[in-house]
Structure formats: structure tokens, C-alpha cells
Symmetry: C2
Subunit: 303 residues, 2 copies
């Protein structure tokens, strides 16, 4: 199960009634935050989460509405007596950014582990999740994140017994190990069932619609995507500033056959994003006009 909380849904500037777009992902006891604009630590607090628990922060790009909350976040971690290192992961420019952060957030008593990438596609594994950063198209270099929770095949004890496989090897076989014992060789295939569907979550903002988004979001359980404007006449503005329209995100969700689409990163010029609900649901019915604090538990679907 992946717990997802979209802490804020705003773009550009934080508003009194709308935090900036940021997403907390919790899986098997670990917490990963994607983006952290000004006020994200307050939104976390409001939703009942503690800064202390966060293991890693993934950044999409270095516009401050996605990053300016980092100094306060790190200091609040420090005040909560955190001593474990924090991972900060982001595209090229991370070290320069963190250099700036440390001139504002002085006295960080724990280690910052930095993972800076610049490939168009960059994969890593963290807290049991397989994560791929993929380059999108914004006014500055920007990446989306595909997050996968793989699921191990079921261990079939009946088959193991039928093949006289010693019980002491079961655990290692379940974990995918091949075991040689005297003349005998036992492989995971001998005891494991068919592959089971995992979970996939894709987060993408800020960007124009580009084919790579649907490729990564293919059959995802949840796509969280920018819907900067609902007004069709703002398309030119969206193109100019490299942002995505609500209906463009809905088209991607449809094309990628995702289960659900959450829109976010609304322009401050759009006080009531829900007024476009009907229009975007005509394109992709399972579209949610997210609100701050939108939550779900993504559950594995197969027994």
C-alpha cells in the first residue's frame, strides 16, 4: 500500500487558502516528499505529519515555488532532534541550490545526502520503491517522477512441499535466491507464483504536455499532474510559460489509461478550479480536481 497526500495544490505563489504543490508518499514506514515550496512544512503539520519522519525530498526543478520551503523544512527537522541523514534528490543544479539553502538554514545537525542527476531518464531505488525521474518540458530543466512499488509473486507452499524442498530454504527462495545444496539446485521459479501487479504513481509538474508523460504514466494507479489553467483561452499563456492546461492533463490520463488523475498546481489567477470539473471529466471521467490535503491509500489489487 502506498499512502499519498497532496499537501498543496497551488502553483507560482502560495495563497492564504492554497498551499504550494507538494506530495507526501509513505510506503513501508518510509516517507518521501516531492517538492517543497514556501509553507510546505506548515501544510505537513496541518495534515498531521511530522517533518522528522521524512527520509527523502525529490525536487522536480529549481523554481522557488517548488523549493523555497527546504530551509524551513530542514530546520524543523533539526528542532525535532533528528539525527538521521536526509536524502535530497534533484536534477543538475542541486549542489548550487543546497549551497544557497545552507546560507539560510544554518546549523543543520544531520547529514544531507545529495543525489544530483542530469540524464533525461534517471532510475534509482529508495525505501523499497523503484523511482524514475524523466525529463519534461518547462521553461527551465524539469523532471517528473514515476514511482513503482513492485510486488513479489506469492510463495506457493504446496508446490514447495510437493517438490520436497527443505523448509529452511523457503525464505531465501521467496526472496529470489537460487540455492545449491549438494546435488540439488532450487530456484525461485520452483516455488513462486505468477507475477503480481504492483503499484504505480506518477507526479508531473511543471511542463507542457509531452509524449514521455503518457509513456511513464501508462496504466498508472494514480497520475498527479499539473492543471495550471482551466480556461481554454489561456492556452497561449500556458504555451509561453511552459505549463499544462487542465484538459491537456486529462488527455494524457486518457491516453495513458491511468486509473485516476489528480489535477494540481493551479494558477493563483484561478480561484475556483472545480468549475472546470465537468469539462475535464468529459475527456477523462476519473479526474479529481484536487484540494489541499487530498489523500488516498493505493492498495495492491491482486490477492
Amino acid at each position: 500500500m502506498i499512502d499519498v497526500c497532496l499537501l498543496g495544490t497551488g502553483g507560482t505563489v502560495p495563497l492564504p487558502q492554497r498551499w504550494l504543490t507538494s506530495c507526501l508518499i509513505r510506503y513501508q514506514g518510509s516517507s518521501i516528499l516531492i517538492d517543497s515550496g514556501e509553507g510546505t512544512q506548515i501544510a505537513l503539520h496541518k495534515e498531521g505529519f511530522s517533518c522528522k519522519q521524512i527520509d527523502a525530498v525529490l525536487l522536480t526543478h529549481y523554481h522557488a515555488d517548488h523549493t523555497a520551503g527546504i530551509p524551513g523544512l530542514l530546520l524543523s527537522m533539526a528542532k525535532s532532534d533528528r539525527t538521521e541523514p536526509v536524502w535530497i534528490i534533484g536534477p543538475k543544479g542541486l549542489k548550487n541550490f543546497i549551497d544557497g539553502v545552507l546560507k539560510i538554514a544554518l546549523y543543520i545537525p544531520f547529514e544531507l545526502n545529495l543525489l544530483e542527476y542530469e540524464e533525461n531518464e534517471f532510475c534509482f531505488t529508495m525505501s523499497g520503491l523503484e523511482i524514475t525521474a524523466f525529463r519534461v518540458r518547462h521553461s527551465v530543466p524539469c523532471w517528473g517522477y514515476e514511482i513503482n512499488a513492485a510486488r513479489r509473486p506469492r510463495f506457493e507452499a504446496e508446490r514447495a512441499r510437493a517438490q520436497d524442498i527443505p523448509v529452511r530454504f523457503w525464505n531465501r527462495l521467496q526472496k529470489g535466491e537460487t540455492i545449491t545444496d549438494g546435488d540439488m539446485t532450487y530456484t525461485p521459479e520452483m516455488v513462486l507464483g505468477a507475477p503480481r501487479k504492483g503499484l504505480k504513481l506518477v507526479y508531473v509538474t511543471d511542463t507542457r504536455p509531452v509524449p514521455v508523460i503518457a509513456e511513464h504514466a501508462k496504466d498508472a494507479d494514480l497520475l498527479i499532474a499539473e492543471g495550471m489553467y482551466g480556461e481554454e483561452e489561456k492556452l497561449e499563456k500556458a504555451k509561453l510559460n511552459r505549463h499544462m492546461m487542465m484538459y491537456e492533463a486529462a488527455q494524457i490520463a486518457k491516453e495513458a489509461n491511468v486509473k485516476e488523475l489528480w489535477l494540481t498546481h493551479y494558477s493563483p489567477s484561478m480561484p475556483h478550479p472545480a468549475q472546470y470539473k465537468e469539462a475535464v471529466q468529459k475527456i477523462f471521467p476519473n479526474t479529481v480536481i484536487s484540494k489541499d490535503g487530498q489523500k488516498t491509500d493505493l492498495a495492491f489489487t491482486e490477492e
Copy 2:
């Protein structure tokens, strides 16, 4: 008249129901902000002010609960199409801090004028206000601000006429100029009345109580001061971290004979600062347990 708005009253970390301590001062069309922690731009917005209007930001010290809102503030100014320069004024360390800010807030399209001081007492004039930064005692170098709006003496037209002073000189005399015209010398004293009381506002956080505060706050119209804790048993903690207790601030207000004291910079551990109202008002009756958005218009008292 000086318009004062205490945008937030929190210390250390911003809370969902309490912005960080920051004060907006408006005088004769200019706006000066003292301190800007994470979320200050949201508090400004909430109170109906625009970031665009701010002419100067004064910083007391470089703890992030007083500074981490600067990147977002500058970017919101940028988004409001501001082109005029912004003054940022603070103690030694300002250039290093701004160097960090500019690694987070990229693309600032207006000039930043920096005024960095390190004297224990540093005076400057800005937007018609005489401002003195005075060093207090915190865990890092920290300054308070004394802000004075001087008031010109009344121009006494009857006296000017009685002395046959040509009307063409009246305006220059009113502004304090001495004028020689042929054999005649006209001085401001010939036409100006007695000195009139100006307005004084003092802002001081974070600090232990030190004599310099009452000296600068002497007879002030408003003293805005830290009241980190109300609980008497937290005195040792306040001493250790160099913060000021509510009742210590009240004692300073009494000693300095200020008209009104606003407490602020409450510890996040103190959810209901108003519960100490009666106790601090026993020391200094005109104590206000400030709330976010506390406002007043300080008006000149003499005709």
C-alpha cells in the same frame, strides 16, 4: 500617522494557525517590513497587502524563522511586475545571506540595494523615518529597531506676517532653511512654533532583556517585543536560548514608560498565549497579547 500590522506572532516554526513574527510599517506612502520568515508573503496577502508595495525589508538576525520568507517575497514582487529596487537592511552577514537567497530565488528583475551594518548602534533615514538598529542579546548577533517619525513644528503665519517676512520665503523657512535677502536674514525660529512630539515604535525580538531595550523604547508609542514563554518555570530555558519571557517584556515596557506593549514571537509550545494576559497586565496594564494581523494606526498626539 504610522500604520502598523503585526503579520504574525509565532517564533521558531510557522504553525497552521500562527504565522511567524513579522511587522509591516506604513508611513507616508512607504512600506517597510521587519523580518520575513517562511509564510510572511502569505500573511501579507491575507491581510490585504501586496508584496509589490514593500520598499524595504529590515532583518533583525539570520535565524531562518526571521528570514526564510525572503526568496518567496522577492519572487512574488517579481511576479507583480515590480521594477523599482528593494532595500534589504540587516546586520553583518547580509551579503552572505542574500547570496544564498539568490540561489533559491532565481531571476529577480529588480535591483536589491543592500545596507549591511555591524555597529552596536546604527542610524539611518528611510521613507521619512529615522531608524536606529540597536544590538540586543540573542544566541547569534541580533538587533532591535527603533523607528521615529519626527514632526515638524507648526508654521505660525501670524508671526511671519507681524515680522513682515515675504510670503515667497515661507515655504523654505517652514522646511528649516535660513534665508538671507539683501540685509535681512530670516531664520526658521522666527516663524516656527514649539517642537511637537513625534511617534516612536520599537520592535525587538529575539533577545534576553537588556538595558538597551528600555533606553530605546523610552516613552515609545508602541513597543513590540518578544514574549517567548508565559510559564515562569521556562525562565531557565529562555536564558539558555537567549529569549525573553512575557513578564520580562512587560517589566521593560513599564520601565520605559511606553504607551502600549504588544507581545509576539510565541513559542510553538505555547498554544494559548492569552492565558498569561492577566499576569503580564499586573506588571504593565497596557499589554496586548497580540494575535496574527494585530493592527493600529499610531497618530500624532499634538495639534
